[in-house]
Amino acid sequence: MAKNSNKTEENRNKFINDIKQGKVWGSYDIAFNTVNLLKDVIVNGDWQTAQELMVLITAEGRKLTRSLPMQASVGNMVRRVLKIIREEYVATQQNKQEDVDAQESLHKIVTSEGDVVDDYSKLLPDLRSSIMEHIGEFEMELETSADNIAQQARQHIHSNEIIMTLGKSASVEAFLKKAATERKFEVIVAECAPFCRGHELAVSLGKSKIETTVIADSAIFAIMSRVNKVIIGTHTVMANGGLRAVCGSHIVALAAKHYSVPVIVLAPMYKLSPQYLCSYDQDAFNSFVSPEGVLKYSDGAILSKVHVYNPVFDYVPPELVTLFISNTGGHAPSYVYRLLSELYHPDDHDL
């Protein structure tokens, strides 16, 4: 048994190290690997009842989120797996009961509140296999999510439109390329200094024969009046529908608001997080990296005289977002709370 937990620990450490070393990159890979880790716990872990399993998963999730506080998709995946366990438990239990009375009347659903509160401690023999099956389906959903989003491209991008985006987001890239197979349109990419990932996106779009212009971040407002739509990716969708997105998103969203340009955010379901923004200060929301991109270390004497901040994220309030496009379709920011209650169980919001 010790051997198993050691192996899990080894895998977890490797996963954390890979993320820190930048070998695993992008929220999809991180989400995918997290699910794999959790699957490992389910298969090899020492548990009998759903409750024990949930304790195991929560513990694992807590360790992961503590080591990777900035990767919201890790926590989301843990919550998702917990929800799956709960669902499967209820389902298998109901299957048993259904043998007794197969009919499920409306009356029963309404009055069934009493036995929903369950401590998940009953022994169910085929729980493990049914959970794994459900997770398998969920993994399929993960894998196809990027594709599903891209499929909706033609509903949102029309001919001869001018689209603005910023930085580099894998979903936006796929979305635009998909649209380009059928329609002709123009893309303006804000470079998103100091990391300038916008350059990479522009090169990639250029290769796909999309008419692309790179602009400096300072030109966003000036250009916005010509733009028909803003399409951006995001790092996380907060519980209120706000975004934690790459630094610069807020300016783009504000400029778009000023010119009444719709802002469309591509967010696969695994980016939905039940966390709220608790303060506009930096604690636990933003991440600040080395100030290198802003000021050079070789600049000398000035370094000790100034504070230089290099934030990675911006908070974009929900009222600046027009539409979320997830793998299940388009949603308004005000609908996010509903999605959350479908995806996660309220007891799991705090890991």
């Binding site: 620990e9 080894e10 070393q21 930048g22 600040f288 290198e292 370094l303 504070h307």
Partner: protein, 691 residues
Amino acid sequence: MRIDGSTFMLVLMSKRASKGLKNSAETLQKEDVVQAVVIVDSFKGGFHPITYFIPAALVPVVNTPLLDYTLEWLALSSVQEVILFCSSHADLIKEHIRKSKWNELASAMVITVMVSETCRSLGDAMRDLDAKAVIRSDFILVFGDMVGNVNLLPILEHHRKLQKQDKGVVMTMVYKEAGHGYCSRSVDDKAVLTVDSSTGRVLLHNKMKVGTKRINIPLETYSDCPQVELRYDLQDTHVAVCSPAVPPLFSDNFDFQTRDDFVRGLLMNEEILGSTIYWYKLDEAQYAAHVSNWQMYQSVSHDIIYRWVYPFVPDSPFIQDVEPYVFLRHNVYKQKSVRLGKGCLLEEDIVIGENTSVGENTHISHSVVGKYCHIGKNVTIYKSYIWDNVVIGDNCHISCAVVGHDSKLGTGVRLCKGSVLSPGVVLPSDIHLDANIVVCGPLHRKQSLDHDVYKQEKLAEKAYRLLLDETEYDSEDSGQAQKLCGLWLGTSGGDSESESEEELSASNETSDRASPVPDDTYLFFSEVMDSLTRGYDDKLHPDNLILEINSSRYAYNVSVREVNYFVVKALLSLPIQARSADSAPKYLKEFNKMLQDFLPILQNYVRNSDAQHDCLQALEDMASSTDTLHDGLSKLLHLLYEKDILAEDIIMKWYNSGDENSTSTALRKQVAPFIQWLKEADEESDESDSD
């Protein structure tokens, strides 16, 4: 499972085959194990005498021991095997490793601890490594007290690429560009690097000692190369990638003690040894520094707080068993469990560790406070480093100081200007310390080894102040003296906040100036002092003394003007040394008495106007450093004027030539009555002439 994991990784990697760098890293890993040698003892004693109690590698920088930074960094660079080489305090290091996460089975990095008690230098360590034959391929050589976030694999790759072009390459040294005026370059490491800019081969490596003004570059260094680069803007990171040939080279050459010896030896005997050295410039986003002394301690702490070392910042969870800090505006990092009293002010650039409590109306800025500390009410902490479990009483004032683990400070203690308290010191109330080192118990001779230049003064049961032992201290130990009193934590006085950072950078420059007496002239000065003291005591004839001084002048190769300057300086300091001339009148009396014997000497040296200028310069320097002289300056000038040593116009010229700084204007003010008198006398004489 491990194999599963790695194959899974490979699948992932091939999925994203376009990432060139990562692929190369992967192939590198497959070729062989990446080894790193960590020399835990830096052998330089920059933290002396703290290093009697804990090894330099366990000195906490921003509340984390240096060794943890080093190991985390190596792990982040995918180093798989680490050889820790310890000499002193090996048991503490072993204990630390045993308790750390590296000891867990799941750790991806294997750490081997090697102990050699007799090891005194890097050279010894390398010879030991050679004897034990543990090096299999190119390895990364770092010290145990380093902070960095450099990805080492590309450097290793670069080294291997160089090996393909040049069979003789044995070492790639890593440098970082650091601008002038920033404090991150250690004074010990200032060097001019001469490199062939087309290949990156190091041609010359000139250490710039304090006070060095020129270097020689032989013609042949740049006669062969089309393009030579001279760099003086580099920070030596002390990271090097070495070929397996390095340990044998150390074995073959017993005079290689430090890395500098090695570099110099190799460059000098390039043809004989057939080995070459290259350099590698870190790109902008990467950081590495060797915390070798208090100056570097301060600047690296600063860089960590200012996040240059990202991801190794306090709010990132890189040390797993420590709750990450919360990062607030103005670079304030604090843990959730910190208790702050009413009205206490955390200004900026502050780190406060877990379970520390801060009393009411306490003011903290630019400081690091460890965990489980208790800070009283109305305390001011400025630019200081408080380690763990420290208790600070009410109304203390701590600026530019280091307070070691488990220390206790009574109420009203003042620590200023680079005081260092070693771990475990207990200071009673109302003690004032100024640039002092305090240790918790008497140091035994065995511990202090060859550094016996300290005198110890007992302040309390568990507080001994270390002082320089004047009798044993001679100029050869000037380095030692710097270690004791320099301490770099804001050496130039005045701890007003407006000066704060300027003071830091200025302290660097003043350090160049403050100990500007280059070795030879300093020796000459002490020689003159000796001669004069002896001459005064034994009533030697002035002519003989002049002869003696002149001969030492030739022995130390000192210029005429310097001779004038130092002779006057020595004469002026003689009364202070000889008797207890603690007030200006007493001093003048003493000086007058001495002048009866030594007037011929003065007359001999101070002959022309240049010499008189030197004489005045010496007077000014002495007066600004000694109070008694400062008070009696105008009298002294008068005396010298009367003895016809100084001419009136020279004095006037000197009086009018003052710099802008405060001390010299204060001096000018001090002598103003005398000058006034001079002027009047002059006018009178003019008038009498005209009459």
